[in-house]
């Protein structure tokens, strides 16, 4: 199982804070997870997750979309941070 979390603008656009996704071996990297979510969610998800500045996090660490994933991972998508 994968846990997928969304924050800020993306969470709002999707009206979704988090979801659980069945792990499958074809979900090799975060990129495939994103494509999978978009194929299931349609245009709204396409628009929110295909923005060029989406930040990808894996297990509480920012990574490239091409980073490989494993079963049990926590994945997150969010816009650039604006803290401080």
């Amino acid at each position: 199982m994968l846990k997928v979390r969304f924050f800020s603008l993306i969470r709002e656009a999707l009206d979704c804070e988090e979801l659980d996704l069945e792990y499958a071996p074809e979900l090799i990297t975060l990129e495939e997870v994103k494509s999978h979510l978009i194929s299931k969610g349609g245009d709204l998800w396409q628009e929110a997750l295909r923005q060029p500045n989406v930040v990808h996090a894996l297990n509480h660490r920012v990574v490239e979309p091409s980073h490989p994933i494993s079963d049990g991972d926590e994945i997150a998508f969010f816009p650039p941070m604006t803290g401080g």
Partner: protein, 153 residues
């Protein structure tokens, strides 16, 4: 050497004392960031801070440890609020202790610059008309963060 991510307001004097503890250093630098009504969208009635629990604490801890090693800090402390904040409330407080003032200053500034672009916080401005706008990230903040990666101090 501590991080606090909290909803409730903090007292600056208490933070300063927690920073110092039993650690002595010749210099202590601090920075406090406040909510300011400087929005282009209208009058800001409140600022809302969303964050990513778990990741936030981890990233802030890594930033502090990295500053400690790079500038030889004797002590450091990062406090960052989330939730709803009123105008002029303190959002963030960073304090550093070092044997020399240049290291205390550089460490404090490094932590502030790093958390701006790396700590998973997102600001939303609540305006007096009832609208709420997500604050956009600033290119200059990213530039400052990248500059630290390039320079050796």
């Amino acid at each position: 050497m501590t991080v606090s991510v909290q909803q409730q307001a903090f007292d600056i004097q208490a933070q300063y004392e927690l920073l110092l503890g039993s650690r002595a250093g010749a210099g202590v630098a601090t920075f406090t960031g406040y909510v300011r009504d400087l929005s282009e969208g209208g009058t800001v009635t409140a600022l809302e801070l969303e964050h990513y629990p778990g990741m936030t604490e981890k990233v802030l801890g890594e930033i502090g440890a990295s500053a400690e090693q790079r500038f030889g800090l004797l002590g450091w402390r990062i406090v960052h609020r989330f939730g709803l904040l009123g105008d002029q409330e303190a959002i963030v407080w960073v304090g550093t202790v070092a044997d020399h003032r240049t290291e205390a200053f550089a460490g404090c500034q490094f932590i502030m610059d790093s958390l701006k672009t790396r700590a998973p916080f997102w600001k939303r401005e609540h305006l007096d008309g009832g609208n709420a706008l997500w604050v956009k990230s600033k290119a200059e903040d990213l530039d400052r963060e990248l500059a630290w990666q390039e320079k050796q101090v």
